[in-house]
Symmetry: C3
Subunit: 162 residues, 3 copies
């Protein structure tokens, strides 16, 4: 039995699993396992659409390696927050836009819904993930992640990763 396939090593079903893990680990507050979805040498940024369009380097949140992301997680763990805040992430339209050697460039729309103890749930932000995903032999991981949000934010509220 001969099998020929035009499928790349990184197919859409595996990408869905990756983004579901990403969302599930963030929303389940398992940030330590979430870190493991990035390569060591990753580039992670959360930035405003207007800065992204203007090619301005200013990012609202930035980590140039998994070690820096890990520091961010440690900071969250050691901080007492006044408000009991829960974030839920939703992803849609996951799509491979180009291939780059064995890696793929992926875009996906996202929305974050925020709930505080005494208010109705509301939209925290909406935007687009622009990512580079690699297969390091063990699993799919993010080499680059740019989470570009569409509307201006109250910056003080960006405590958690997107």
């Amino acid at each position: 039995m001969t099998v020929t396939t035009t499928q790349t090593a990184i197919d859409r079903a595996r990408l869905r699993d990756l983004y579901d893990d990403y969302t599930g680990l963030l929303d389940g507050d398992d940030l330590e396992a979430w870190l493991d979805l990035f390569i060591e040498d990753c580039d992670y940024r959360v930035l405003a659409r207007e800065n992204d369009r203007a090619n301005l380097p200013l990012a609202t949140m930035r980590a140039d390696s998994r070690a820096m992301l890990s520091d961010r997680v440690a900071a969250i763990r050691s901080t007492q927050f006044f408000a009991d805040r829960v974030m839920r992430h939703f992803t849609s339209g996951i799509r491979i836009v180009s291939h780059d050697g064995d890696a793929v460039h992926v875009t996906a729309s996202f929305c974050v819904i925020e709930s505080l103890a005494d208010e109705p749930s509301r939209i925290h932000m909406a935007g687009e993930h622009c990512d580079r995903v690699v297969d390091d032999g063990t699993a799919l991981r993010f080499a680059t992640k740019r989470a570009v949000y569409d509307a201006p934010l109250v910056l003080t509220s960006l405590i958690f990763p997107v």
Copy 2:
């Protein structure tokens, strides 16, 4: 050709189908078919995050069997609602968190958007499904479903299942 697989009988693609059916049947108002996604001896609860955290038994909606869920559906069918209300359910981050014999424990974030005739659509609730899913030989079904919502609710508005 020898195929070895580490995949369990309940894989992520089948889980996606199950949650899409769950959402689709609820949103399509096919509650009778929706009932069929539960085992007879199911445990279904909708509860607030603060009660879940405090291990309080108080649930906003509760059914200890599919027969009780079926009664709830019959009650909805026989009631005239003043407002023409449409609910849309969104699910994200579906993930197997542990195995329990042949069953799996699954978490997923959800969001419900509510539309009334004379108002803009708005977020009704956001939260997390914490479920136990079994394969009864015919299909995947929910043995346990706990829909834990993040923000306090106007309880009178919880008419429909989550």
Copy 3:
């Protein structure tokens, strides 16, 4: 090796890819590639739930062919919009409700989140896709798409396809 399957040629994994492409191309503003997801002889409508229920022919947006949809895209491209508006589409509960020869009827819930430059992101609309999907030998494409929104809209804001 004999394979028997009850799966149709249009399975759910391929449908997910189609809807992810649909959403991703709309949100990535690649409307020209988005057009390619429709057959030439397609029927596309965006309409209010109350009109759909009453079987009223009035549609908020309508195209009786891909050529007409293409005209709509050309109009968007040639128009200067005052507001910098970004739309994000989310889909959930994709389900095959019936078969129609080799085609399938599919329903899915959707939500559109709108972001303007100076305001928080908000829900633009929620509703249901009621579609007929065919495999034309090359790819899955929409033969019919009815996007039925749940709440009344400010009609002037329906510039972009749903």
